[in-house]
Amino acid sequence: MADFTAEVFQNEFLPDGGTDVHAIVRVTSTGASAGDGSAGLTDPGSAAEVILIDTSGSMGRRGVQAAGEAAKAALGEIVDGTLFSIVSGNGTAQIVYPYSHQGALVPMSAHTRGEATRAIEGLRANGGTAMGTWLTLARQIFETVPHVTKRHAILLTDGVNEGETPQSLQAAVQSCIGAFQCDCRGVGDQWRVDEVRGIASALLGTVDLIPAPEEMAAEFEAMMRASMSRGIAASELRVWVPQGAELLFVKQVSPTLEDLSSRRAPINPLTGAYPTGAWSDESRDYHVAVRLPARTLGQEQLAARVQLSLGGDPVAQALVKAKWSNDDSLTTRIDPAVAAYTGQAELATVIQEGLAAKAAGQDDVATSKLGRAVQLADQTGNEEMTTRLKKVVEIDDADTGTVRLKKGASKIDEMSLDTASTKTSRVRR
């Protein structure tokens, strides 16, 4: 069985009158990987995968062909015994495989893999894009196997959702929360990052850009391999704060940025639960911020208990503390992990806001936001982000954040900057 550990990085000392406690809690799992046998896929019915492929007219022949290759690569990674299904989506959604007499899902085997491959080869580009209908069908497929705890989907699209209203997409996404996890990929430069990010974020998955159709196969293979390695299905982060305290936010800050605050499900008046999705052998960092009524100097208080809970049982716990002190040398220090992730969160925000302003034609706002991003990336030595920013802006002075919007910056470069903005670099202890 998997082992979870939780460790906390924080400066617990608050100055006189100080109220806000920030901490990074790192949760690490070992023995959770499905590949090592201990949590392995011995039961054929314990995991289910659905692949959602965009077959709208905009995909074109080349696009659908590449998507088919990608889906086949993903099939190669699905472990035998896993239940699976292939869905093609345009203005509506259809199950491509299994065939209707076989039900909505079939266990993977050499035989079914072959049948699925042939079914994929018959896909043709046609019609519009209504991702809400694809997600709804995926949910209905998963609902046929209520005993399966690990449910994962891959969604591929190349265009803007236009066959339905944003409200109906939103409603479809809401109905899928908790029903399955979904990693999303966009191909080309005609899809909207914020739209697809909204789906991935709500469904505890990742979002990324695939620049060219030829790169899809490798990406699908990697995504499916990652999903297959996750052996721990249902888990949640539980955060307790004391009576009278205010939980300011709970964010996942590594490997990607995700504000979990709005996903709180109350356990009791002092404790909330936040779904984490499935775990492989990995480490995730959470930023917890709590506001406490100030206590007198010398007093100590527990600011938060952060637990990882499996099926309702806490398996790891970290304690976030507060101690009021008049010693400036203690209270003025900012924990390096808290500082680094706070900086990365701000970087992500200004990049997204800057790109949105640019798209809206607000060049002044865009210049100022992206200038701040350049400055932050420079200050934190984030070379990867600096490189990406350079494709969108001309940097006059990174130190002061003085930039000019680059003329003729490619849409793909802007989109890749956008999707990369929420990927954080791990802070080392």
Binding site: T42, A234, A273, G311, D313, L319
Partner: protein, 429 residues
């Protein structure tokens, strides 16, 4: 995936918990002893009311299972409902003597003293997050009915660097030792050093003094020599409380009084004080000895007390115990023949708010009157500590008192045969 929990998918929380509750009831697994809510076996605390469920069961999932678990392991699960313990019982009443109620008393120890509602589950309260009080931060000694004292952290300091050590024989006025040491707050580990000093001094002063020719003056001379020896031993204890040469070695003050057959001999180094506060208004209230402080030097030079004790360096002391102590550590010695009255040894945490002996006597009489029949040395000391805290509690506060009935009418004599340290020449060489 066989190890995956089956009830813990994040979404259907309502139904899942109903199922859990029902199955728990079927198995008779666990009901909260306080509110009766059913829980699955292995739950560590009640999610409805926060009561500790780990005590009556084996195999609690968290390592922080309460210590009471070992005590009440053989008791029935209905023992000692937490809700029935009085939240008002927060005093230092010590162990309940009856063996029959010992398990209940042990369970009561886990009730949070700060809020009275939660339980200490992992070193902190599960309701308000407060840890159990550090006994070093507030302690009371009541060696006998006529001697008692309180040592308190105050309101502003992070640590209690004051220390107190008392001892007394049962017969009123027969024999008592009161020692107070105030650790210097800028130094390393002064809270350890001051307590070591106070205890070392008490152990010296607890020894019977040579009676000499049996006169009162001979005893007083012996007491003076013992106080000087106690300072030496206390000084060694302070120096010995740190292993190696630290940059900022711990240091502390010293104030002590020995009573034998209603004769008081007092001695001090630094700015902790001994006061004699007789009941009779005709008899003056006095500080015995004098401070080794910058303020005292200024007063000697003619600056009024109010001004000197509130000046910029008022709290700088000119003599102290510790590795970097000055060579001459002879205490200022005073002998008093007690009438009916109060002997007080205190730190500057009290006298900062009431320095003049006459005012202090008034304050003490008011406190005694307010306590009415409940006035004992300890309760009066508590009241004076409360007074200092109400004034702001800027420093640690220690008040030790002996209630003396007096045996004669001999008047106070300042520094008699024993010593004349004011001139820097100890009488006993």
């Amino acid at each position: 995936m066989t190890d995956s929990p089956t009830t813990g998918s994040p979404q259907p929380a309502g139904t899942a918990s109903t199922v859990q509750a029902a199955s728990a009831a079927d198995a008779g697994a666990l009901h909260c002893p306080t509110c009766g809510t059913a829980h699955p076996a292995g739950a560590s605390f009640c999610e409805a009311c926060g009561a500790d469920l780990s005590a009556p069961t084996a195999g609690a999932p968290l390592p922080q299972a309460s210590e009471a678990g070992t005590v009440v392991g053989s008791a029935t699960p209905q023992t000692a409902p937490a809700g029935e313990e009085s939240p008002l019982d927060v005093g230092w009443t010590g162990a309940v003597p009856s063996a029959a109620v010992a398990p209940a008393a042990a369970a009561d120890d886990l009730t949070c003293r700060a809020c009275g509602q939660g339980r200490i589950v992992d070193g902190y309260c599960d309701h308000c997050g407060t840890p159990p009080p550090d006994p070093r931060n507030h302690f009371v000694e009541t060696p006998t009915s006529w001697v008692g004292g309180v040592c308190d952290i105050g309101r502003r300091h992070a640590r209690n660097e004051d220390a107190m050590a008392l001892s007394a024989a049962e017969a009123p006025g027969s024999r008592a030792v009161l020692v107070v040491c105030d650790g210097v707050s800028m130094a390393t580990d002064s809270h350890i050093a001051s307590l070591a000093a106070a205890k070392a001094a008490r152990s010296v002063l607890d020894q019977p003094f040579p009676k000499g020719v049996g006169t009162r003056d001979a005893w007083a001379a012996g007491a003076g020599r013992a106080l000087t020896a106690a300072v030496t031993r206390a000084n060694e204890a302070v120096a010995g409380s740190v292993v190696e040469d630290v940059p900022n070695p711990p240091s502390c003050t010293f104030a002590a009084a020995v009573v034998e057959d209603d004769v008081i001999v007092a001695g001090n180094v630094g700015d902790s004080r001994v006061y004699w506060l007789p009941d009779a208004a005709a008899e003056p209230a006095v500080q015995l000895g004098r401070d080794d402080s910058f303020a005292q030097e200024q007063m000697a030079a003619g600056v009024p007390r109010i001004q000197a004790e509130n000046g910029p360096h008022a709290h700088s002391i000119t003599r102290w115990l510790g590795r970097d102590a000055p060579d001459d550590l002879t205490p200022h010695l005073t002998t008093v023949d007690a009438t009916a009255g109060w002997l007080m040894v205190c730190s500057d945490g009290l006298w900062n708010y009431c320095s003049e002996a006459e005012e202090l006597r008034t304050l003490l009489h008011e406190a005694t009157a307010k306590l009415d029949g409940a006035a004992t040395p300890t309760t009066v000391a508590e009241a004076l500590v409360d007074f200092a805290n109400e004034q702001g509690g800027r420093d640690n506060i220690t008040v030790a008192l002996a209630r003396l009935a007096g045996r004669g009418s001999r008047t106070t004599t300042e520094a008699p045969a024993a010593a004349a340290p004011e001139e820097g020449i100890p009488s006993d060489g």
